[in-house]
Amino acid sequence: MFLEEGAAKAILARAGVRVPGGARATTADEAAEAARAVGRPVVVKAQVPAGRRGKGGGIRFAATPDDARVAAQDLLGSDVSGFRVDAVRVEARVDIARELYAAVVTDAARRCPVLLFSTEGGVDIEETFAVRPGAVIQRPLDIRRPLEVAEAEAALGGAGLGPAAAGVARLLSTLYAVYRSTDADLVEVNPLALEPGGGVVALDAKVVIDDAAVGRHPELPKPAHAGTELERRGAEQGLLFVELDGDVGVLANGAGLTMATMDAVAHFGGRPANFLEIGGQNYRRATEALGLVLANPRVKSLLVNLCGAYARTDVIIEGFLAGWEALAPSLPVAFSIHGTGEARAIELVKARLGITPCDLMDDAVRAAVEAARQRS
């Protein structure tokens, strides 16, 4: 879960990190008002869940409230880093002596959090690392312990920060505490500004929360679900639905098999219309799942590919048939069914639909691809 910059900064501020004063605005007038309240030159920043906003033209400087109004007018409704801008953040410009980079991120390969720091802030850290790996300090951390300020200071050892090192070390310790207390995948401050007087200010903040942990953080704001109407409908029903641009509807169990089924559709010359997982606990939700797949107007044929391990295929097919009979779609459908519960599942399909499932998955995929082709 990607937190909007304002929400991320609020969390950092509560933890004692200095952030520039500012406000969120969804209209040009609100932006001008926010700039007036700040009372000095401001930065107007597109609020989109992505990095590289500066490069994407999503960050504007404004000397006056009128400039802020114009900047907001430009940004609102435009496209930045692939996202539509629905809000901007207007905040005070900060005098910067030096731009640094600081982050704590979950490192899947090392299986632990890693502290990242660089004196080359304000640019893409991955690019810095690719060009000059030595410019990025990396320190694996023990998730069972806090990051003491002294350890952070030791990690900064050769960074050449001079008297500012103590303040930066305190900030790193705080970032790690925020990472832990919010169950974050990433807490990143880039740039982290050193002021001429030696103060440390988080000019930007990116906080991504582990989706599996969101349930135990009622204090965190819930962002509106991005995505298509069908994807939102799926999310409301607790089903992960990803709309694609093809015309072969795909219903399979389990993430791996569903991806492989999409791949097979492409391999045999078709285009999948969706990803939709009904594995895990969701194998009892086939009725709703079918409703989602069929609500996509582009779907011209349907492919049901089941290979049950934990998911019982007979239970999936019962749910599927309930949905199919209620919706009575006039759509060609091909089946391949194997694994837990297969004998009963196959009998159900034969008895209720008069269709014999294909023994080979490839045959079912070919049939669905061909049916879609004939109807287009």
Binding site: T106, A108, R111, C112, D210, R216, G254, A260, D263, M361
Partner: protein, 297 residues
């Protein structure tokens, strides 16, 4: 992580609906489920398996080689730490949606204790003809037969399909290891390749990967050093970037973790890469493998 027939199995969370269903399947298969744990339910039994209130009590009553966790996500960290603390050396975590910080804490403890974690969000381990732990249809003889192909898969459903294809083509499995679909997990493709390389009953390996992370690329670097052939399938070739494909770990982000990159890395390492499951059997034949004495008659 390749279980033998005599492995003594503990089931944590044994009194739950799914756990008792799968405990019964394991017992029917001949697996040695020696004990179960369910806090507050000591003294009960499930399909004749004695239930203890804690892992400590269970291992005091008798030794355990592997513990399998059927516990809800928010209780999984505590249950896994309990098993590791009681000295269990192999912990198989089936649970999906465990917070990543909890997983990292468990893996740190496991490392210190010299224990191995398989999972989380994994389908378990099968040694056909011998034993299984987890949620795979080990008893289905069109999917699992004793044989010489080692299968490692992030996904249970796709792993099942791959095993189905192997048996249909006349092969059998030396073992199936489901490593799970989470981004951070205890056992990687590389760990399992090493185990299969050392396993005298395995003659070839099928690696079933998917988009996201760097595990397949890491494994690819080891393939040239192996004496046994590797056939690889990577799911998610048609997956769009930036969208999570069901598994927590299955996401192509920042241009990294794509199926194409993984397939290229595996091919560079010398693995035979296929793009649909039905190609695996024919490629194994091209590599000179036959059904062998323990395959389909």
């Amino acid at each position: 992580m390749i279980l033998r027939r005599d492995a003594r199995i503990l089931v944590q969370g044994i009194t739950g609906r799914e756990a008792s269903f799968w405990t019964e399947r394991m017992l029917e298969y001949g697996a040695r489920v020696v004990a179960g744990v369910s806090p507050g339910k000591a003294g009960q039994s499930v399909s004749g398996v004695p239930v203890f209130g804690s892992v400590r009590d269970a291992v005091t009553a008798g030794p355990v080689d592997v513990s399998v966790l059927f516990v809800p996500p928010m209780a999984a960290k505590g249950a896994a730490l309990e098993a590791i603390g009681a000295g269990v050396k192999l912990v198989v975590v089936l649970t999906e949606h465990i917070p990543v910080h909890d997983v990292m804490a468990v893996l740190a403890e496991a490392r210190d204790a010299g224990a191995r974690v398989v999972g989380p969000n994994c389908p378990g381990l099968v040694t056909p003809g011998e034993t299984f732990v987890g949620i795979m249809p080990a008893w289905a003889d069109n999917i699992f037969r004793p044989g010489e192909i080692g299968v490692v898969s992030r996904s249970g459903s796709l792993g099942t399909l791959v095993c189905l294809n192997l048996v249909r083509d006349g092969f059998g499995e030396s073992a199936f290891v489901g490593i799970g679909g989470d981004a951070v997990n205890g056992t990687s493709h590389l760990d399992v390749l090493r185990a299969f390389e050392a396993d005298t009953r395995t003659r070839a390996i099928v690696l079933v990967g998917e988009v996201g992370g760097g595990m397949e690329e890491e494994a690819a670097e080891y393939v040239p050093r192996m004496s046994k052939p590797v056939v690889a399938l990577v799911a998610g070739q048609a997956a769009p970037p930036g969208k999570r494909m069901g598994h927590a770990g299955a996401i192509v982000s920042g241009g990294k973790g794509s199926a194409a990159a993984k397939m290229a890395a595996l091919a560079r390492g010398g693995a035979r890469v296929v793009d649909v499951p039905s190609r695996i059997g024919p490629v194994l034949r091209e590599l000179g493998l036959s059904a062998g004495p323990r395959g389909r008659p």
